[in-house]
């Protein structure tokens, strides 16, 4: 497994090379360099995954956690800040997800970004992002995760602000960075608390790692020390870290940056803001899951309810958006919230069919995987559409199915997947999530089912809005929308994955054949866990999804949309609120600009200039005035001097006498 280090090093070198030498490279060369490197690490990741999952399981039935590299990067007193690589089922899965999507995006960008100024810079940033994201998932300790977490944030910032001449892009990039930074503050404090009380930052909770030769051993994580210091410490630390995760994963109320982040190039949205970076929060919770479930189970409803509310909020906002990328962004928020909820409802770590409480973890990771694929496909498809019509607004589209057949097909597949139609990948994973929710509490289960229905509704609203309905003729007069092979190829690959995984897992889940399924590889305790659908849940969610799709078809498919207009007229205010995202941005704007800037920063700056500085200027002024006043003694009048002199002498004599 020594070659895993290359997975991190290669993109980093590619970033350095493209960043420094990009100026002198042609677009084609730099793109090829980036893509080649990514192809290489994709292959390496697949090799890693193959080696890892085909290796023998440990005695307890789980896959061994390997640490091929670990070295102390920065000693921090009794603690160590290590950098290394940790391979366990979820990190290996993430390697695959990230490299696959990233590779697709690299290829796709050839077409999408063709001729853009800063093409080399774009590929350099993509490499940086890929490196950071991979570093994040293979982190051996929480601090390494934080380090790459920040790097991911900054590469996201750079990529959102890629079109830096547009004010909206600049504002969006700033917002994304600052909001996640704010959330990361919680993460950092959580890390500090965690590190202080457990005496280690490492993920070595149970001490069952297989360290490679020559790696620095971890300082074992002293969970019992933390427990001894106070029962609330670990939950507090975990909750604070969850705030960080919520920020990255755009959980309400820290979600506001994600819709704006759509100002970046669309492939970037596909890679960062749909498939990989935004699931970092989910990944973080999953990584710390053993701690959550063992020591902080009472606090897990925080995750659940934040997730549930976010899912609902995002879904309802998505129903009213007109910008196709915004719809996808809110759908992403909603889907990530699904993953969060799934983790939250996972109350047990022991698998086995009778313990439905442990499905959530597996379901969450599974949904992460499937969602990454179909959401990337959706975003890339949206990219094709935008590339073709040069607009983000649904009004500008309609009837595009004739012009963009491949995009249309893949988009439809992905929409079906996200809606949870059987034989598409989303069905299996979402079904598991709902099963887990049902097992936790039927209320949560039904709410999530309803939100899944909303998902199907707004996705098909989007689908019909783009590919059906009225054709926007005047837009097409100049040039006919068309698609390029280099851009459609990734779409096809991603939808093949979606369909393939979907068919396989659906068949396996219905028990039609006995094979490995996702749960065999990844489950809460690492055991081989075969997915079996709960027929009631599966049928309910399928029926509901189909109904929603039918409803959406009824409302949005036609050339005119009388029902939609009527709905709009019936509740214009609701639509307006949803369209304005329930004014969350305005609230933040108000807090930051009107309160923090106007009532904190400005007064402080004023205070500094006038009070503190004024005090020192007052001192100077006082000295100046005083000396101005006493300089009168130095009148230049000899007689005055003589008088003072005389008095002085007399006083002296008097003292002597």
């Amino acid at each position: 497994m020594e070659y895993t280090i290359l997975i991190l090093l290669l993109p980093f070198l590619s970033f350095l090379f493209l960043g420094l030498a990009g100026k002198w490279l042609s677009h084609r060369t730099s793109g090829l360099i980036g893509t080649t490197v990514l192809a290489a690490i994709t292959i390496l990741s697949y090799c890693t995954a193959y080696t890892y999952f085909t290796a023998d399981r440990c005695a307890d039935g789980s896959y061994a956690t390997l640490v091929p590299y670990n070295a102390t990067w920065l000693p921090l007193g009794h603690l160590n800040f290590d950098l290394g690589i940790l391979l366990d089922p979820i990190s290996v899965m993430m390697l695959i997800v990230i490299t696959t999507v990233s590779f697709m995006v690299h290829i796709y960008s050839f077409g999408y970004m063709k001729g853009e100024r800063g093409f080399q810079r774009y590929y350099a940033f993509l490499s940086l992002f890929t490196m950071s994201m991979l570093g994040l998932v293979v982190a051996t300790n929480i601090f390494q995760m934080y380090l790459f977490w920040e790097l991911v944030g900054v590469s996201s910032y750079l990529l959102i602000g890629f079109y830096y001449t547009l004010p909206a892009a600049v504002a969006a990039s700033k917002k994304a960075f600052i909001v996640t930074r704010f959330a990361d503050l919680g993460f950092l404090i959580g890390i500090l608390i965690f590190g202080y009380y457990t005496g280690s930052f490492s993920f070595d909770f149970v001490n069952n790692l297989q360290m490679a030769e020559g790696t620095t051993p971890f300082i074992p994580c002293g969970i019992d020390k933390a427990i001894a210091a106070g029962g609330f410490i670990l939950p507090t630390a975990l909750t604070l870290m969850f705030i960080g995760g919520a920020g990255k994963s755009a959980m309400f109320p820290l979600h506001i940056w994600l819709p704006d982040a759509m100002e970046g190039p669309t492939p970037v949205s596909a890679l960062i803001h749909a498939a990989t970076m935004v699931v970092a929060g989910v990944y973080q919770v999953a990584r710390l899951f053993p701690l959550w479930v063992t020591y902080a189970q009472d606090w897990m409803p925080i995750i659940i309810w934040v997730g549930v509310f976010t899912a609902f909020y995002a879904a309802s906002v998505a129903c009213a958006q007109s910008d196709i990328k915004r719809v996808l962004a809110f759908s992403t928020i909603s889907q990530i919230a699904f993953m969060m909820v799934a983790l939250g409802v996972c109350t047990e770590i022991t698998t086995g069919h009778e313990h439905a409480g442990s499905i959530g973890y597996m379901a969450s990771m599974f949904h992460l995987f499937t969602h990454a694929m179909f959401k990337a496909c959706l975003f890339l498809g949206a990219g094709c559409i935008i590339h073709a019509v040069h607009s983000n607004e649904m009004v500008a589209m309609g009837g595009l199915r004739k012009y963009l057949p491949i995009t249309h097909a893949t988009f439809l597949i992905s929409c079906l997947a996200i809606s949870g139609i059987p034989f598409f990948s989303g069905f299996s994973s979402k079904d598991e999530i709902i099963t887990a929710c049902m097992a936790y509490s039927p209320a949560v289960g039904y709410i999530m089912t309803a939100i899944a229905a909303m998902t199907a509704f707004y996705m098909f609203r989007l689908y019909y809005g783009i590919f059906w309905g009225t054709e926007n003729k005047e837009l097409h007069t100049e040039h006919t929308p068309h698609e390029e092979t280099i851009m459609t190829a990734p779409l096809v690959i991603l939808s093949i994955i979606t369909v393939g995984v979907g068919i396989y897992t659906t068949l396996a889940g219905f028990g039609l054949f006995e094979g490995y399924s996702f749960g065999s590889l990844i489950s809460a305790d690492g055991q081989d866990y075969r997915i079996h659908f709960d027929p009631s849940v599966a049928s309910l969610s399928t029926i509901i999804a189909i109904c929603s799709i039918a409803l959406a078809t009824y409302i949005f498919k036609g050339e005119t949309q009388p029902v939609a207009d009527r709905m709009y007229n019936a509740a214009p205010r609701l639509h307006r609120w949803a369209y304005k995202r329930f004014y969350m941005d305005e609230v933040y704007q108000f807090i930051t600009h009107r309160i923090i800037f106007a009532y904190v920063s400005r007064p402080i700056a004023w205070f500094d200039r006038h009070v503190i500085d004024g005090f020192f200027n007052f001192l100077a002024w006082g000295t100046h005035t005083l000396s101005n006043n006493i300089k009168g003694f130095q009148s230049g009048r000899v007689q005055q001097y003589a008088l003072v002199f005389l008095i002085g002498i007399l006083v002296l004599i008097l003292m002597i006498l």
Binding site: T72, W73, L74, P75, L76, G77, L79, F81, F143, L147, F148, E150, L151, V154, Y157, G161, Y164, T165, P167, V170, A171, S173, K174, F177, I178, R181, F182, L185, L188, I189, L192, I193, G195, Y196, I596, F597, V600, S601, R602, I604, A605, D608, I612, D613, F615, F616, N617, A620
Partner: protein
């Protein structure tokens, strides 16, 4: 003659050379040769120090030498270095070297003062005699007045006067403090190591005396370290100073404050440090947040960076006062990191100002398209400032936070959390600035014509970026180097202050 004295001797030779130099070419040659020699010496010293340490040299100070200078007051020219001073010398070497390239077109007199200033700085870091430290401190201070007052911009006379007066006021405090320590320890030696270890005729300073002199020394050095509320010289001074002077000032001179606080106030007055640290902790933690928040609404680039320096330097003193080895290591790392990144920042701001003739954020726009090199450098400086991993700021801040968290009581916790918020605010003001001046589209036809950096400017910027990235990527050796030297000081504090005092009302 000890080879450390070369750090003072080379600037002296440079002064002589400058005096002889006739044309711009000669002046440049002298400066480049001299500053390269200083940098090379600093690097050589670092390597030698590391190899000697690993070779088993365990003395607190290495390469010590002492010559009696003024017998009645026991003042001697004593030199010696430990890991902290080595790191600081390295920093000074880099800043002086790059500063030379940044002030490429300046005249002879400017370089004379510049070199004198460097001499003071180097002398300060190699001294282990309190009086010599004080003397070099003053040598470093006075040229600042002329450099700002003569070659500055804006309200330069006002700023120069303010800066000099405030720092002079501080050195009055400092002198009282130094003599207080000297007589408190028996009046037999000015040597820092001797006083700390109670050797060479020094005895333990009474607790009550320590409590009197600690504020004097700490404030005396703290003013130079931009401690809230004595920081106001810094925005004005930096805003008016010429580019390289800002660099040198923020990059090195302000570090004298932190270094002095650590080397004299904490090291020599450990009990008082334990007893009184809470007062200064509150001040510095306030300063950290305060500086960051006021940076948010500044419109002048230099003011913005000066306030951000207040915040970052406040972090240095804050970490020192945490009195843990890790936090103090972080403080020294922060000094290095802040020195480099602020120098880079000021260098680039100066270059932009030189070209665009304005530093107003509202008037600059879209520089990325016009001056890509400077803009990228600026963005890197900004990212280092907000603590991006891989650049030096992250390493220092994380070390400080982890170290501060080693104090388990609520008081320290609350202050630490307060200080951590500054990293969010830092993101706000840095990104606001970057967004406003680098991004967007240039509106001003005047600015469209400005040209990108010259080769010497590029060279300086690249050097600084390399150093920042170097520390950011491989901080281990530096941290090791520093923490070994910090440990004895902190151990000294910890042994005398067996428990943190009861007098603190917050505990």
């Amino acid at each position: 003659m000890n080879f450390l004295s070369l750090f003072v001797l080379i600037p002296l030779l440079m002064l002589f050379g400058l005096w002889l130099a006739k044309e711009q070419k000669g002046i440049r040659t002298v400066m480049v040769v001299g500053s390269s020699a200083l940098l090379a010496l600093a690097i050589a010293l670092t390597l030698k120090f590391i190899s000697d340490r690993s070779g088993g040299a365990t003395a607190e100070m290495l390469y010590t030498a002492s010559f009696v200078w003024f017998e009645p007051l026991h003042i001697s020219y004593s030199v010696g270095v430990d890991g902290i001073s080595v790191a600081m010398l390295l920093l000074s070497g880099v800043i002086v070297f790059t500063g030379t390239f940044v002030s490429w077109d300046m005249c002879k007199e400017y370089f004379l003062w510049f070199t004198l200033l460097s001499m003071g700085v180097f002398g300060f870091f190699i001294s282990v005699d309190m009086f010599m430290m004080f003397m070099f401190y003053e040598i470093a201070l006075i040229p600042m007045y002329l450099l700002i007052g003569v070659w500055g911009s804006g309200h330069k006379e006002y700023s120069a006067m303010k800066l000099t007066l405030m720092l002079m006021g501080a050195s009055a405090f400092l002198m009282l403090g130094i003599f207080g320590i000297f007589y408190g320890a028996g009046g037999q030696t000015m040597n820092v190591v001797d006083i700390a270890n109670h050797t060479g005729g020094a005895h333990i300073i009474d607790f009550s005396k320590q409590c009197i002199w600690f504020p004097f020394t700490f404030i005396g050095f703290g003013v130079l370290g931009a401690m809230f509320p004595f920081h106001t010289w810094s925005p004005d001074g930096h805003a008016s100073a010429p580019t390289a002077v800002s660099m040198l000032h923020a990059g090195v001179l302000m570090k004298l404050g932190g270094y002095g606080c650590f080397r004299i106030a904490i090291y020599l007055l450990p009990e008082a440090a334990n007893e009184l640290s809470w007062i200064f902790l509150i001040l510095t933690a306030t300063g950290v947040v305060y500086g960051a928040l006021s940076a948010c609404v500044q419109t002048d680039l230099k003011y913005l960076n000066a306030y951000s320096s207040v915040s970052h330097c406040g972090m240095v003193l804050f970490a020192i006062l945490m009195l843990t080895t890790t936090a103090s290591t972080g403080a020294i790392l922060q000094m290095l990191s802040h020195g480099l990144m602020t120098a880079l920042f000021f260098a680039i701001i100066g270059m932009i100002y030189h070209r665009a003739h304005t530093r107003d954020i509202r008037q600059l726009n879209g520089l990325m398209r016009i001056v890509p090199f400077l803009s990228v450098g600026f963005a890197i400086a900004g990212l280092a400032n907000l603590g991006l991993p891989g650049l030096s700021g992250f390493v220092a801040e994380m070390t400080i936070f982890v170290g501060s968290f080693e104090n388990a009581d609520t008081f320290h916790r609350i202050l630490t959390i307060m200080a951590t918020t500054s990293i969010v605010v830092a993101a706000v003001y840095i990104l606001r600035m970057i967004g406003k001046i680098l991004y967007g589209v240039n509106q001003n036809p005047e600015h469209a014509k400005i040209h990108d950096a010259h080769w010497e400017e590029r060279f300086a910027v690249i050097c600084l970026i390399c150093c920042i990235a170097g520390i950011g990527m491989a901080p281990g050796w530096l941290s090791e180097l520093i923490s070994h030297s910090v440990a004895p000081v902190i151990d000294n504090v910890k042994t005398v202050g067996h428990l943190i005092s009861q007098s603190n009302p917050f505990m």
